[in-house]
Symmetry: C2
């Protein structure tokens, strides 16, 4: 039973990668994903797909992986286990658009299990607009809330708060963007039986393409200035800081000798740093910084 289960999940994730890549290519109208198939020395592998220099997407990755083998010592320690094999599969996405008025988006859906019977689902979708537009933020969170509410009325409030806490750049005292939903360790122990967790993760994965293609189409033609492009480069610098300093997925990948180019596909094509950059009062940049805070009720 367990064997069929994990294989079925991995197959579904592969299909999700296919359908998301197609939707993004169709909406972009120019960029095509290039695929690298890779194998992991300890077991398993993945399909990394990266699109660069599209009409709308400047650089983006949609990665699938299914890896297995001896559980890394850090996880064994955390779970107080002597030995167990693991299996992990998921889809990870980060997209950096050309236009600073199109947001950066990140999605991850994943399933983890071990030979001792432990299993869980994790994932989420979060948005990092270079300029926070309240209507867009509301639309995004309302959309995620609708997806969550179909499965459990407690999911959205819980996972929204989790995202606020997780996507926080402590040394900047800023959230990475406007958050979204983040969840991990969904299983029986956290009150989520397998069928419920799996249905929810599928719903989150399926919500990605409609959400992002909406923003691509709506905002792709908004005119922007060189100053606004420079602001985008600074915000991408913050994205780099979060991913390299705090992101657990990135840390775990680098610590466990994952495929570096697949892990770091999340980094932007270009990021800038300006010492002690200050926004001018009453500008869109200043308004954005004011909204990069935890606990805003966007939905």
């Amino acid at each position: 039973m367990t064997i069929h289960r994990k294989e079925a999940i991995a197959e579904w994730f592969k299909g999700l990668q296919d359908s998301i890549c197609k939707a993004l290519e169709d909406t972009d109208g120019k960029g095509k994903f290039e695929q690298d198939v890779w194998e992991r020395e300890g077991g398993g592998g993945g399909r990394s797909r990266v699109l660069t220099e599209g009409n709308i997407i400047e650089k983006g990755g949609v990665n699938f992986s299914a890896v297995f083998g001896a559980t890394p010592p850090k996880i064994l320690e955390a779970l107080r286990l002597e030995q167990a094999d693991f299996f992990a599969t998921g889809v990870s996405i980060v997209l950096h658009p050309h236009n600073p008025f199109v947001p950066i988006i990140h999605m991850n859906v994943r399933y983890f299990e071990m030979t001792n019977g432990t299993w869980w689902f994790g994932g989420g979708i979060d948005l990092t607009p270079h300029y926070v537009e309240k209507e867009d933020a509301h639309w995004f969170h309302q959309h995620l809330k609708n997806v969550c509410d179909k499965h459990d009325p407690n999911f959205y409030p819980k996972f929204k708060t989790w995202a606020d806490d997780y996507f926080y750049i402590k040394h900047r005292q800023e959230t990475r963007g406007i958050g979204g939903i983040f969840f991990d360790h969904l299983n029986d122990n956290s009150g989520v039986p397998f069928e419920k967790g799996w249905a929810f993760v599928q719903a989150v994965g399926s919500a990605f393409a409609p959400i992002y293609t909406y923003f691509m189409q709506k905002n792709k033609a908004i005119a922007y200035t060189e100053k606004e492009k420079q602001w985008q480069y600074l915000r991408r610098g913050r994205y780099v800081e979060f991913n390299l300093v705090y992101d657990k997925g990135t840390k775990f990948g680098l610590d466990t000798d994952g495929r570096t180019e697949s892990i770091l596909m999340s980094l932007p094509p270009q990021a800038n740093w300006v010492y002690s950059f200050q926004t001018q009062p009453a500008t869109r940049e200043a308004a954005t910084l004011d909204l990069l805070k935890k606990g805003i009720n966007w939905a």
Copy 2:
């Protein structure tokens, strides 16, 4: 005695910051350092100096700090101490030049002591050329070796190896640059009495300006192509990866709520990431990657 000692060291470091800034401004011919004086909530503070858009230096920082207060829990744990106050002072430098044929340089000299009587010196100078030129690498290491040899014949081999191991980007299997010297915890316990350690640290600090102004003057006018500038942006991306993922000083600073803009002055003005970038065979870029390895005997 101890009080006079730490104050004298801090004063000397301040003077070092002054003389290095002057030498860099004189050689650059255009850029001027702007100073931010800051205070630390728990005690002490610093003078951050950043130069941007010079003739030769695109962005660089020369920071002095002297901070004191309750020792951070992580250090207490490592030293198995219940409680102690600390005092730390140092000068930290990172310079990013415009011209890809001028190397990035980093220097740090520091002194640390605690109220339980523990003290040590640390520091080093290392070079990150975007293009490794063997003659320049030899000159740099020979210069450092000469500085070291005047104090102890064991210093250079030991500290050169330490730099190779420290400035290593594990997930890229590359060294950050061509290394240099790195040392930490120099004190009686490691066979270095105070007077010897202090004289050595002063010699390292004093070696910085002659070394870097040599490279500034020698390489500033070398013509470069757009392709070479793009390569510089990629190498700066690696610099960002090292500093945010591995550098202990950066981690310590961010963990202990240090002044973020001073800590992250090390980040370049612009860095780029290209997915799965491959160098072409028999190019200067490929030759450089071949030399970003531990254990090369440059001196």
